[in-house]
Structure formats: C-alpha cells, structure tokens
Symmetry: C2
Subunit: 403 residues, 2 copies
C-alpha cells in the first residue's frame, strides 16, 4: 500500500520516482499516487524519505488540492509556457522534467511510471538520460504494481461501497427476470419476448442511477453463447426458459475503484447438466474461499480447484499444459482470479502458472467456471480481501441458480 512507499523504494533500489501523464483518466498509476482526478494530468515526483510534490497546470490546481499531495506546484512556476513557445512541445517537456528533477534534487536511480503512450515516453526518457538523469525501467511487478496490490483500509472501504451499489444493480436486474413469465421456452417481460438487449438497457440505467460507470460493458450471456467466458451477449439474443445466463458485471466509481461479480441464473427449470455444473462450480468456489488466506499459494489453491473439477470429469487448465487441445474450450478454461482496485485486472493473479503467496490486503476475485460449447457456461465470482486467517468476502449476493 501507498504508506509502504519509502520502504519499497529502498527494496527496488530507487532514490526517486516520477509518475506522470496528460490526464489521470485512463492512467490508474497517476491517479493512485495523487488521489484525485486531474483533467490535464501532471508530474508527481517523490525523492525517498521526502514528501512528494505534484506539478500541474494552473487550471487543475483546484482539483489537485482535493488529492493527497500537499506540495502543489504549477507548470508556470517552471516557466513552461515560455519554453513551450520558444522550443515547442517535445523540447519544452524535456526542459520541464529536467527542471523539476533538479529543483527537488532527484539524483541516483529514478523510476518512471504512468500509463501513457509508450513511444513518446521512450523518446522523453532518452532525452532525460542524455541530460544525466538515471531513469530506469522495472520488470514486473514494478514498484507501483507492488504498492497497488495490497489495499489499505480506505481503499477496501471504497471497493466495498462500489460492491454494495453493484449488487443493488444485480438485484434490480433480477427483479426484471423474476417479473417475467414463461410461455413455452420464451421468457416474456411486460408481454413481450425478453432479449439481452432489453435487459442490458435496464442494467445500464441501474448502473447510472447508482452513479457508477460501465466502462467495459456488462456480460449478460444467455444460452449457448455463455460457453465463451468473454462473450458479452448480443442485443438480439433471446432469454430462454431453462438456459444458463452468465451475468458478470464490473462497474467503476467515476475515475476510481471497481467491483466485479458474477452469478449464473436460469429462468425456469435448469437441465440436469447445468444444475450439476453449477453445484460443482459452487463447491470449487467454496473450497477456494476456505483455503485463501495470507501466505496461501496462488498456484496451490488453483490446483485444488482443478482437482475438484477433474474428479468430476471436467477438463482444466492443467490439461492444456499437458497438450490437450479440447481443454482450451471445455471445462475450467480460465484462471481462478485476478486482483481488482483501480482496474479490474491487476495483481494478484490466481492461476496454476503463478507460484506466489498471497499477502494481507490483496483484493482478488475468486471465480471458478465451467464451460461446454453447444450447451453454455456457469461461473460464480466473489471479491475477497485476503486476511491473516482467511478472507473477508465483499460479495453478499445469493448464489442460487434458479430464480
């Protein structure tokens, strides 16, 4: 977490770090260190054992003051407008960074972060190196990866809050399904066949009413399409009696923290096979939840889940590494979980490929699933915080298959 920054800078052998970008939107690394949204972005500089500083455009000073950095400077204080006029954007940028680094006596190895356009960043870094600054790149996990992967109390509170609003959205969508009637294999809502497009319009409205943002779109995969875990559901897809619906929703606070939850539902009576897949996925998830805690190994827990599936005759990720091509599309075909925070894909990763131990404060999805082309899929996903003796489960939704 962010309060470990000095200690982690030492471990990463960094005397200073720069985090920058032209906006905090779409730049979680910059948002993370600043703690506020800046339309024009800025330059964050921290020298080890000193307070960080933030350099922003005049127009963003008000927004910057809402964040965590006390020492706010402006581009104007570095006469950036004048150098811009004289030298143009590229050279003026190098001059600005050089002045900021010198002003704050940033020497030694300097880490360089931000989610930004990489080509021009390479050019900037090379220019700064020519001016004598020891800018270094880091393999993953980088310093910022490591800080971000464990969440402090305020971060967990925000994720929990987004979670509770996300679950309200799910419950309101379930109301629509529950108020539908079944006629043959058709599901009718307000007298008309219910499609994925119609229910997604409701879901988008519910998300907006909770003041959440649906950045990557919701997965509402009904019927055989649900056999592809990334299939989002097409507008015209019908909702049919007895078929599985994988409902995976991952909204974000405006510019901030995310949640991510999946449930699988059936309107009417599920087939025996889907029911059995659901029972197995739930058993696998509960086992994973029981075994996750500080120090647990991501690979070991995932293999435990694989064993449960394999015992019931399903293929898993392990069969892929054994060369079984069918295991790419049948069975448990994705990893067990991924970290969430300012993004829905960050450390830690729970997978048979990741031989790493979990840390207290990790926030991760736990989402086993089973998929069968031609039939459909089943996935159940909770978000948990890793604690000393187990998990704190932030997901409260019921896991019943039948509506």
């Amino acid at each position: 977490m962010l309060s470990d920054i000095d200690q982690e800078m030492k471990k990463h052998d960094l005397n200073a770090i720069l985090v920058s970008g032209e906006s905090t939107f779409g730049n979680p690394e910059l948002y993370y260190v600043i703690g506020a949204g800046l339309a024009r972005g800025g330059i964050y500089l921290k020298v080890r054992l000193h307070d960080p500083i933030l350099v922003v455009s005049n127009i963003d000073v008000g927004s910057a003051k809402k964040g965590r950095i006390k020492n706010i400077e402006t581009y104007s204080e570095y006469e950036h407008e004048k150098t811009l006029q004289r030298y143009g954007r590229n050279r003026a940028q190098v001059i600005l960074y050089d002045k900021v680094l010198r002003e704050h006596k940033a020497k030694g190895r300097i880490g360089f972060y931000g989610k930004v356009e990489v080509s021009s960043s390479l050019a900037l870094v090379e220019s700064l190196r020519r001016k004598g600054h020891k800018i270094v790149g880091e393999k993953r996990p980088t310093l910022v990866d490591v800080l971000r992967e464990t969440k402090d109390r305020a971060e967990v509170d925000r994720i929990r809050e987004v979670g509770s609003r996300t679950e309200k959205v799910v419950e309101r969508a379930l109301e629509v399904l529950r108020n539908s009637s079944v006629q043959g294999t058709d599901v009718l809502y307000q007298g008309e066949p219910l499609t994925v497009g119609k229910i997604k319009r409701h879901i988008r409205r519910f998300i907006a009413e909770e003041n959440l943002v649906d950045i990557e779109g919701t997965i509402f995969a009904a019927g055989t399409g649900s056999a592809d875990p990334h299939y989002r559901g097409a507008e015209s897809d019908p909702i049919r009696e007895g078929e599985p619906i994988v409902f995976d929703i991952f909204p974000q606070e405006p510019g901030g923290y995310c949640f991510d939850t999946t449930r699988t539902y059936v309107v009417g009576k599920p087939s025996k096979e889907i029911k059995s897949m659901h029972e197995t996925v739930l058993e696998a998830q509960l086992t994973a939840l029981d075994n996750l805690r500080e120090g647990a190994n991501a690979k070991t827990v995932t293999e435990l889940v694989c064993s449960i599936f394999e015992k019931k005759g399903y293929k898993t990720q392990r069969d892929v590494t054994r060369g079984d091509e069918e295991a790419r599309t049948h069975g448990f075909i994705h990893s067990l979980g991924h970290g969430i925070g300012l993004t829905i894909g960050e450390r830690p990763n729970l997978s048979v490929l990741v031989d790493e131990n979990l840390k207290e404060g990790h926030v991760t999805s736990v989402e086993p699933g089973l998929y069968k082309p031609g039939l459909g899929g089943v996935r159940i996903e909770d978000i948990v915080v890793i604690r000393k003796n187990g998990v704190e489960n932030l997901s409260k939704l019921d896991k019943t298959l039948e509506l």
Copy 2:
C-alpha cells in the same frame, strides 16, 4: 488516417511497428489499429507494405475476428504458456515478442506503441534491444498520433452518431430545466429545490439510455463555480435563477469514439454582464468557425479569437505570456480547441502556442469561453470536421442563453 499507414511509416523511417497492451480498454492506440475491443489485449505487428498480424489470447479470438485484422494468431502458437511456466512472466514476454518479430521478419527500425504502464515497457524494450531488435521511440507527433489525427469517413460517421445521441441527452436535461419553476431566486423541480446532484442523476440516466459511457463525468457548473472551467459542479450546488450554468458533456461509445459539447444556459433572466459575455463568446466562436478550413493556422485563428475578446476589454492567453497574472483566472483562460476521436484530448490543438496548419479530416472542438471569478463563466463548444473550404459542424444544438 489508418489507410495512410505505409506512406507514414516511410516518412517516419520505420520498417515495422508494434502496438500492444494487456487490454484495448484505456488503450486507444491498440483499439485504433485493431478496430475491436479485446479484454486481454494483444500484439499488433505490421511490417511496411505487408498486411498486419495480431497475436491474442485464445479467449479473445472471437472478439479479434470482429476487428479489421485478417491474420489472427494466438499466444499458444508461439508456445507462450510453456515459456510462461518455464521462465515466468517477464522473460516469457520478451521471448514472445522476439518470436513474433522473427517469425514475421520485422527488421530495421521498429516503432513501439500502445498506452501502457511505461516502467515495465522500458524494461521490455531494453530486453528486445539486447536481442538485436531496433526498437525506437518517437517524439510527438508519433506515427500513431499522425494517423489518428485525421479521421476517415467511417470514423466521422461514428463521431456524428455519438454526437446526435449526446445532443438528445442535453435536450432531455433541458426539459428538466424548462419544467422547473422559479420562486424568488430558487429553481424548483417537482416542487423541490433543484440541485446539481439531482439534475446530474437525470443526465447519467439519459446517457445510459443512449448506450453511452460517461467516463470522465459531466460538467454541470452552476453559479459562481462556473468561473473555473474544470469545475464539475458539486452534488449540493443549487441551481439559481439568473445564474449561468456551464453544461459540458463528453460521453463515449462503449470503448470507442467520443463527442464533446458545451452550452451555457440561464434559468430565468441573465444579468447584463453574463448576457454580454455570452454574446461575445458566440461572436468569437462564429468567427473561429468562419475561419477554420484546411490549411488554416491554429495559432492565427486562436489569435483572431483573442483579438475579439481583447477589443471588448477581456483578458486572454496572450496576456499570460505578457506576464499578466490576473489573465490566468480572468477572461479567455484556456485554449480554443482540441481534437477528439477515441479520446477527448488529442491532435489537433487550437492554441496561441501551436503554429500548425489544420488538415482535412481533423475533428476538433471550437470552444471559446470567458470566466470571471465571483460571477461565473460562459463557454460554447461545437465539434467540427475540417474540410477543404470550411468546416462541417457536427453540433446541432441551439446556442440560446435563456431557457
């Protein structure tokens, strides 16, 4: 535009380009070359005068096929899972890129793009260079900047379509204001005082119902707060009779193109000063619109706008460069416009600092504004396409101040 890619690669002295990232979401450079959303991202490689190829995760092949790249390969074809298991993530990534570059005979200078975490990208580039690949960074505008800045017909159509949906949202919000009643200086809606929070809840719902995403939040700055052009409006801010409301909305298609429009409104009767500011801003905007066309100079057009403001006694950006500190907060305190497309901040830029000529196919905002601390602000923003003999204005909303 993208069809110029071979020609522009030659101009930029690049024999190949790589564009990559872990997702297309939040990575407009990758989305642009692929033309589809990929949850796990991928590696795009184009050797000059050859068709591009795209390497993706098995799970994303279906999504990749919806894009523009015909030659789709998977990580598995490069035995990425095996190297991952054997060497871990960092080394496996270097091996994968190295194999992809060799397989497709990418030699000579190779451009490297994508909006990604820069620290680990620096490490990756250094490893690839050690393997003999001539990966180069570019100053701005990079190859991808140059391609993206002029929009082809399909892109303009998508921006126009987002624009028409955005304007429906504005019109629905205006319905709320028009259906309000004035009591003293209070504005009442359905019998209760109307706040920014209440109207923003409506706006979020209208945006969702148009299947748009409100990624960066809407500016609805009412009263004196509108004097800060980036002030978004707080939940509890009241809407008051006679005070200016700067309504600036910039939603996005899910993962795709954006629009951006601003109007300034007053419920009831505006003060003489706000009315006069509005007339001046409108005159400035119409003059800018009349003078924009292929070949017009961004600096010259912005200076024309400054002259209009200065003649009426307002300060402008030019006063800042003359050392007038008050001009940072009073008058025309931002630039005239910015390009839009997959983002709401890209080339071209219309500013007194940008001595560049406009090109046919540029899509840019034209948004003069005037601000007076303690009173409020006025801004009017249209989105236009630069054409040979003038502009195609994609903004159709009326510009009347009084509702």
